[in-house]
């Protein structure tokens, strides 16, 4: 996408801007009738200062720029203007000069980022249409007096009013979301059916002019740092670089003069490496064909380098290097590593695409990202103190659940009431995760509840409190089936109209509802939208180990909001934070039924690969399995690798009679098994009694009366988290709260030791707090 770079000046004060819909900006600044209409329609008060157009002028760059470049140029210009603006007012000539210079420097920096020779022309190839009114050539100054409008005053004002109205409503439905054009268009088409399809960009751009929506490049561009040269049209050759450029090329640079024909030829011989089929279409090296190199024979189809090319060469060799930040995806935070570059027909450059979040839509360097500013709110969200107790009573929690929820609630209440420290806006900190690789450490609360503690029940009071106070809450969970399972429960509790459910392929993509339930990937589409972000199973795939999703979760929260993390097995760095008191935490050490977690026992066995190779099962394993089967349990058998699951199930089937089972009662499954859902279902209803699985089943599956065997527990695939989660499959139901957990393997590993310590520690805590019910004879199962 192409954008127009311009500066608005009033009384010597300049502001640099760029626009994706030039027509909207042109009218807004130059036509006072239109602007009045927009302000009226947009619901802004008519401030007389705002409508004063006397000294207003626009300096416009005639050539549309790739969107990312335009943004970088505008940002850089603003920095420069702010630096010098305090000293003196800028003249019109200076503004025009700066515009041209910023465009050249920023484009060059972007091209350098593309790791290409910064010589190819990144102008508009013939294939890129630029819609709207034709731009002036070069750079030009426009003033309101110099404009002639075809329509009369009233219709211009009406048009402004119409756009202003659309802009306001568009901003309302986009608030808190950060969307690509295609997604935004879909939202707007649903919410504003009376708006014409082609008007959407104008409406969004108008909302941007009103300050209600932020328009950004989808990838944060590199903005030059430092002063490149002494600028000023009176002394264009003031700097070292410029002087050298002048000496070398004998031309005045940056003032719009063309190089004379003779010079151009000379320059061409210097830089004859560029091959182009059509003027302006750069063909990267790997795609150059013989036609590309041969056709220019006569010189007729070969476009000579433009002045920029010469300049950039000189800049590279004689100038101070232009430095800039690095390119980043604004949606997922990924840096250079996840970017792929390719020639782009929408901007005419070799332009970067973020591959990390490609499944959620394509973020290009020249693509627009539409960010709805979060709702303005007077004051902070207040949860009255007296309301906490009734809230907790309402949701019928067990004592352990209730205590943890109460702690979380108190934390939320206190945090929401606390002003945020400084201006910790996320927009300036986009690069954060690459440096730190983890969450921002403020306003987080960890709800550490053992497997089977009833985490879902505990979140209800938290959501209720935030919704009652008029805030917005988000529940994010890694898996889609959990979303689908939880959605009806939340709808029943809080009302269907207040809930919005989002997952890949969900139909609901409108404005943000007070309560949103989403898969973690959907968080990419939010920005500063929620007062409470609840992240379920933060240590599970895909959330764990994916900095992109952490970044997204961070970004989805309002800066004055609270994050609550829910897990049974916090990653080690979070455990450390808890120990050191950096992360407030509430523990639920006991299951909802009040019985302790089954503690793992060790069983020394040879490695699984040997059993598979020899086709023999050790007698010790057979005995242990048979005992569980005889006690009437269902058996989870976990193996480390996908390929072992089915193979080991086969081996067990051959020994079925020795285990006291039939061959049909044994099944194996893994992440690659298309039939997994059915197998798990038959395991649940006890048609299958023994299920061999990989860690794919470590979470979310609850089977009454189950025992857990983990083979090759010393394998590196099984870390503490996985072991605790797998062990947590045993004894979950109230009827049979006792289960057996066996860690089988040749060695004891640190992970196993930590897992056992973890489980014992939780049981001890439960005992100390008096949460445990006494194991009575009837509840205790005979395990022989």
């Amino acid at each position: 996408m192409l954008a127009v770079l311009y500066m608005v000046g009033n009384g010597g004060k300049w502001e640099a801007r760029w626009t994706a819909a030039w027509e909207a900006d042109r009218r807004f600044w130059l036509d006072s009738e239109f602007r009045l209409g927009v302000l009226e329609g947009g619901g802004e008060r008519d401030e007389s200062g705002k409508t004063e157009t006397g000294g207003l002028r626009l300096a416009v760059l005639g050539e549309p720029l790739p969107l990312g470049v335009a943004e970088a140029a505008a940002t850089w210009l603003m920095e420069r203007v702010e630096r010098t603006g305090a000293r003196k007012a800028g003249t019109d000539e200076e503004a025009l000069f700066l515009l041209k210079e910023a465009a050249i420097v920023c484009r060059e920096l972007a091209d350098e980022g593309a790791k290409r020779r910064p010589g190819f022309r990144s102008g508009v190839p013939p294939g890129v249409p630029f819609a709207g009114v034709p731009l002036p050539r070069g750079a030009a100054l426009l003033t309101p007096d110099g404009q002639r409008w075809a329509e009369d005053e009233k219709s211009r004002r009406d048009y402004g009013r119409r756009l202003g109205r659309f802009a306001r409503r568009a901003a309302d439905c986009l608030a808190g979301q950060s969307l690509l054009p295609e997604e935004a268009q879909r939202v707007l088409a649903d919410e504003l059916p009376e708006m014409k399809r082609e008007e959407w960009l104008m409406a969004v751009q108008t909302a941007c002019l009103l300050g209600r929506v932020e328009l950004r490049s989808a990838l944060e561009p590199r903005v030059p740092t430092g002063r490149l040269m002494q600028a000023g049209p009176r002394n264009p050759a003031g700097s070292r670089i410029l002087t050298k450029m002048r000496i070398l090329t004998g031309m005045r640079i940056l003032t719009g003069m063309r190089i004379p024909a003779k010079r151009r030829l000379l320059a061409g011989s210097h830089f004859s490496t560029g091959q182009r089929m059509q003027e302006g279409t750069h063909i990267p090296k790997e795609q150059r064909t013989r036609a590309g190199t041969r056709i220019p024979e006569g010189g007729r189809f070969f476009s000579l380098p433009r002045p920029e090319r010469v300049q950039s060469f000189i800049r590279r060799w004689f100038g101070r290097p232009v430095r800039g930040g690095s390119l980043h995806c604004r949606r997922c935070g990924s840096g250079e590593k996840s970017l792929r570059r390719s020639p782009c027909a929408s901007c005419g450059r070799v332009c970067a695409v973020c591959e990390a979040c490609l499944t959620m839509g394509r973020c290009r360097e020249c693509e627009l990202l539409i960010i709805g500013r979060p709702e303005r709110r007077a004051g902070r969200l207040a949860i009255p103190e007296g309301s906490l107790e009734p809230l907790l009573d309402r949701w019928k929690l067990s004592p352990a659940q209730r205590e943890a929820s109460a702690q979380a609630l108190a934390f939320i209440r206190e945090s929401l009431g606390r002003p945020k420290i400084g201006e910790e806006r996320i927009i300036g900190e986009d690069r954060r995760f690459e440096k730190e690789g983890r969450f921002a450490t403020d306003r987080r609360f960890l709800l550490w509840a053992v497997t089977g503690a009833g985490k879902t029940e505990m979140i209800f009071p938290l959501l209720d409190a935030v919704l009652l106070a008029g805030g917005r809450a988000l529940v994010a969970t890694p898996r889609r089936d959990v979303v689908l399972e939880l959605a009806p429960r939340l709808a029943r509790a809080f009302g269907e109209d207040r809930l919005s459910v989002r997952y890949g392929g969900s139909p609901d993509r409108k404005r943000i509802a007070p309560l949103t339930l989403a898969t973690t990937h959907q968080l990419l589409r939010f920005r500063e939208a929620f007062d409470l972000v609840l992240i379920d199973e933060l240590d599970a795939f895909p959330f764990h180990g994916d900095p992109m999703l952490k970044f997204a979760a961070d970004k989805a929260r309002r800066t004055d909001g609270v994050t609550v993390l829910l897990t049974a097995t916090p990653p080690r760095e979070l455990q450390r934070d808890v120990r050191k008191g950096r992360l407030p935490c509430a523990r639920v050490p006991v299951r909802y039924h009040g019985y302790p977690l089954p503690e793992p026992r060790r069983l020394r066995l040879p490695e699984l690969s040997r059993m598979l190779r020899t086709g023999r099962l050790p007698a010790r394993l057979i005995r242990a399995l048979r005992r569980s089967v005889a006690a009437g349990s269902s058996l989870f058998v976990f193996v480390p690798y996908v390929r072992q699951a089915e193979a080991f199930a086969d081996l067990l089937r051959r020994h079925a009679s020795m285990l006291g089972l039939e061959a049909g009662q044994i099944a194996g499954t893994s992440s690659r098994d298309a039939d997994r859902g059915r197998k798990v279902q038959s395991f649940r209803n006890r048609e299958v009694r023994l299920l061999v699985a990989t860690t794919i089943l470590e979470r979310g599956v609850t089977v009454p009366r189950s025992d857990v065997f983990i083979l090759d527990a010393d394998n590196a695939m099984f870390d503490e988290t996985a072991l605790v989660q797998m062990a947590g499959r045993a004894g979950r139901s109230a009827e049979a709260p006792d289960g057996r957990v066996v860690f089988a393997g040749r060695h004891m590993t640190a992970a196993q030791r930590r897992a056992i310590r973890h489980i014992r520690g939780m049981n001890r805590l439960a005992r100390e707090k008096g949460y445990l019910v006494r194991l009575t004879g009837s509840a205790r199962r005979e395990t022989g």
């Binding site: 089929m277 795609q287 929408s346 490609l358 290009r364």
Partner: protein, 293 residues
């Protein structure tokens, strides 16, 4: 200091780990193994080798075309019904089944450009086979020039790339066939994939025009070929046609039109019709598509 820091933060375990490749389609890590591939040339073979065995297995190669015209592996009604066929033959690399549909959608609509080399390498299969059918051992000798079915400006700006052109350019690079955009799309049509057969046939009429600039190049090139041919005729004194004379000079009059999917052949036929009209006699047009539905 810098160096020390580098050394300290370097991932040394990489040196010890077995090299794992990531499949560009499914993203899964795997150990590369040899899979039989119906492509002879080195570079495309390497690109296809980047696929994991599972994905490589799912490619429905067209190994034996049945329809002599369009290369369909089944009996083909469209070619029999067509009144005038302006291209000589057309060949496709794979059948357009669910998997291929998914892959193409991933590349074309989702913009997963990492798939591009793989798709181009698949197209190489059809190119090599077509060259063999024409009696050449190397595609570079069989075809004088390559072009692609263009997109409308609007669609191009929206998508950012023309998939057919990208694939063609890669092939062109691998086999040393010059690529040139010979066509322009002058009319914006709705997506072809939403249309019925009869709609497609009437709809494609007049959607292309020859690109004036490059057509001129072609004519010029054909003169140079003719000059070379005269030369070789006078040198050898035989009446043999230059294109079959093997190596240099490059015969130009077989032109390859590349597209992504061949459905009824109406797009291909229309493109050939326009090119034929613009270039006049002495040029033969061949179709090359990635998938045949």
């Amino acid at each position: 200091m810098r160096l020390l820091h580098r050394l300290r933060t370097m991932d040394w375990s990489r040196w010890l780990r077995a090299e794992l490749a990531h499949c560009p389609v499914c993203g899964r890590a795997f150990r590369p193994v040899a899979v039989p591939l119906p492509v002879a040339s080195g570079q495309p073979r390497r690109e296809l080798g980047a696929l994991c065995p599972d994905c490589a297995d799912r490619i429905p190669w067209i190994l034996a075309p049945l329809c002599k015209v369009c290369g369909r592996p089944e009996r083909c009604e469209d070619c029999r019904r067509r009144r005038e066929t302006h291209f000589v033959v057309s060949r496709s690399a794979v059948r357009y089944d669910g998997t291929m549909r998914e892959w193409l959608a991933l590349y074309k609509y989702r913009g997963a450009e990492r798939l591009e080399p793989v798709l181009a390498a698949m197209l190489a299969h059809a190119l090599e086979r077509m060259a063999a059918e024409l009696g050449f051992d190397e595609p570079g000798k069989a075809f004088g020039m390559m072009t692609a079915v263009p997109l409308s400006d609007e669609r191009l700006a929206e998508r950012g790339f023309n998939q057919a052109e990208r694939l063609a350019r890669r092939l062109a690079g691998w086999y040393g066939i010059p690529f040139a955009p010979l066509l322009r799309r002058i009319r914006h049509t709705d997506k072809m994939s939403f249309k019925s057969r009869s709609e497609r046939l009437t709809d494609v009429r007049g959607i292309f025009s020859p690109d004036p600039l490059i057509a001129a190049v072609l004519v010029r090139r054909s003169h140079s070929v003719a000059a070379c041919a005269r030369q070789s005729l006078s040198a050898a004194g035989s009446g043999r046609r230059p294109p079959v004379s093997g190596n240099s000079p490059r015969p130009l009059y077989r032109i390859l039109i590349v597209d992504d999917v061949y459905t009824t052949g109406s797009t291909m036929n229309e493109a050939s019709r326009i090119l034929k009209g613009a270039l006049g006699a002495g040029f033969e047009l061949f179709g090359l598509t990635w998938a045949r539905s």
